[in-house]
Amino acid sequence: MMEHIDPEADAYEPGFEMKPKATLNAELETTGTFKRMFYAMLLAAFILALFHSAALVTYVRGLPIGPVEDTIIAVSEAWHEQMQRNGMTGLFATMDEQMKTLHDATWEDVEALRSGARHVGEPPADLRGGVAE
């Protein structure tokens, strides 16, 4: 335990050196995990602000009317427009579009996909065992 403690350095609050090693490790682990999680949350928030800025605008438009709120709304809208110009919102739009296609698929589409898969499984005759001209 003592290898972590340097009483001469006066770096620890009084009584800290009396804690068992397991407690010290748990505190270090807690601090480390808290920091990791907090940074991860910040990164996640940044990703969402970049790629899904429309949700930010929708949210701030629901805020009550006031000078501070108006500023927040103006800043959010400006941010969203900038993200649109930079093409950042395209990823969300693409995923949304893919989901709509999946959602609206009919049994005929499923059948076509299945027959397409069967067709792909069998290469054209002119490519079998030779070089296509």
Binding site: E29, L42, F46
Partner: protein
């Protein structure tokens, strides 16, 4: 405040930061968590926080009284009065209108006209959950499983802790209070599992449950007479998946959020639709309520220690009361009674089958080829039996879900009648809806500890990986989910 909203995300980030900053001052941390929980609860209606505080004070005082007494009879009396007060509050808010309405119907049936004191009673969100937690604390103190808490803050936090306040899991005092006495601790294992559970919970609620509710279940249960048997059958399967995804999502997120604050909650669901018997289903579905009912109702009633009749009676009463706990309606009464009756029948049949199989085994098939063949035969028979059991149990549960979901008793019968009319084509059976139901049911057969396994994979990853997973995970869920956020089904209980 709903979990899958930006309001909750902002609220949680602030609570997370403040709570961990105060980790060396336990009382201040608890106070912050209590205030945050009351803010969370007051978001629905500020008046309800008074009820929550009243319930907490009642249980704190009763707990101190029970803990300080040595005379068995007096302790029992204090416990009885406190439990009756708890249940009285629950009964007033939840069953007042139901009892008065039923009484009015009976009186009208008898030709008696009376002006009954009907009141517009608003049901406070999550009242059944925090009432059961309060009772759990008192009984645990009475049984000396936990010591009566001297800290009013601990009891306030135990009753109101926001992750589980409105829809469980129902956390036991013996499980939670000792955690409040230790220095809070979070490690990579807990945090990585929390990330997995929160993402899975958001997906189950926002994508699966919301799509099934808005595009299938709400329509077919609103007017079952307008649809054919195919749609109604799909509708009940859809509801089975919807209620599982909705409720287990809340539990997943609650467990994840509590873990990020350094607290451990028990598991509430374990792939319930792969149960091969109703008894097993109740070991996998809403585990915190099932075990609560077992420990605080079934066992005090005598459990299976008395005569055969008493055992069946206790089983039936427990499930019957479990049904009423869900809500004040005849549909819930039937739902609970049906499960109670079917559990009794299943128990009786299992006993007979075991006696029969036991006699069969006594024929003395020894080792050798014949024995091996018999072993293989029994294994195949066992596998087929399990498969049949899963299918049968699932359909019994689905049958009961019709009563659970239908707005009225007559609506449930009308739904059941419609299941036999196959003259209309199934208009809701799109590949998307069928695929959603099929894949969700198939996911019931994933290994029990898959979330823990996924958390283990994430444990060693650097924080940017966690951030990318959270960010793009939520982005994908948002893109996949339908518009709007519906409240969780179990908020109404």
């Amino acid at each position: 405040m709903l979990f899958p909203t930006l309001d909750f995300a902002l609220f949680f980030v602030i609570v997370f930061l403040v709570a961990w900053e105060l980790r060396r001052d336990m009382d201040a941390r608890k106070l912050v968590l209590v205030l945050a929980s009351y803010f969370f609860y007051g978001y629905w209606d500020m008046r309800f926080t008074l009820l929550l505080a009243g319930s907490s004070l009642l249980n704190y005082a009763a707990g101190r009284a029970i803990g300080g007494l040595n005379d068995g009879v007096t302790r029992k009396w204090v416990l009885g009065v406190a439990v009756v007060l708890n249940l009285g509050v629950l009964a007033f808010f939840k069953y007042y209108g139901f009892f008065l309405g039923s009484l009015a119907d009976i009186l009208t049936g008898l030709g008696i006209e009376r002006d009954l004191p009907f009141l517009e009673v608003i049901l406070p969100v999550g009242i059944s959950f925090f009432t059961f937690q309060g009772i759990s604390y008192l009984v645990d103190v009475y049984r000396r499983h936990v010591e009566a808490s001297r800290s009013v803050l601990d009891i306030f936090l135990y009753i109101s802790f926001f992750p589980q306040l409105v829809a469980g899991p129902i956390v036991r005092a013996a499980h939670f209070l000792p955690q409040l006495e230790r220095t809070p601790h979070v490690n990579r294992r807990m945090a990585s599992l929390a990330v997995v559970l929160i993402l899975v919970g958001l997906f189950k609620k926002m994508v699966i449950a919301n799509y099934l509710a808005t595009e299938l279940v709400d329509h077919v249960f609103f007017d079952p007479t307008a649809f054919g048997g195919g749609d109604l059958l799909l509708g009940v399967y859809g509801y089975a998946v919807q209620i599982y995804c909705d409720f287990s999502a809340y539990s997943d997120i609650a467990i994840g959020v509590a873990a990020l604050l350094g607290y451990r909650f028990p598991r509430n669901f374990d792939h319930p639709y792969r149960a091969s018997s109703l008894q097993e289903f109740w070991r996998r579905w809403h585990i915190s309520l099932s075990t609560w009912l077992r420990d605080y109702l079934y066992i005090p009633l005598g459990g299976s220690r008395g005569s055969t009749f008493q055992t069946y009676r206790n089983l039936f009463l427990t499930m019957f009361l479990g049904g009423i706990w869900h809500g004040a309606a005849w549909t819930f009464v039937f739902w609970g009674a049906f499960h109670g009756a079917m559990l009794g029948i299943e128990r009786a049949l299992t006993r007979r089958w075991e006696a029969f199989a036991g006699n069969g085994n006594g024929n003395g098939y020894g080792g050798g080829v014949l024995g091996a063949l018999m072993g293989v035969g029994r294994m195949i028979q066992g596998s087929i039996g399990t498969l049949l059991g899963i299918v049968l149990t699932f359909h019994l549960v689905c049958f009961a879900w019709i009563f659970f979901r239908a707005p009225t008793f007559s609506g449930a019968w009308s739904y059941l009648g419609g299941l036999f009319d196959w003259s209309q084509p199934a208009q809701f059976a799109s590949p998307f809806i069928v695929g959603l139901i099929g894949l969700s049911l198939a996911a019931q057969f994933l290994p029990s500890g898959w979330a823990i396994g996924a958390g283990r994979l994430l444990r060693r990853a650097p924080w940017p990986t966690w951030g990318l997973l959270l960010g793009f995970g939520i982005l994908a869920i948002e893109a996949m989910a339908p518009e709007g956020t519906a409240p969780f089904i179990y908020f109404q209980f």
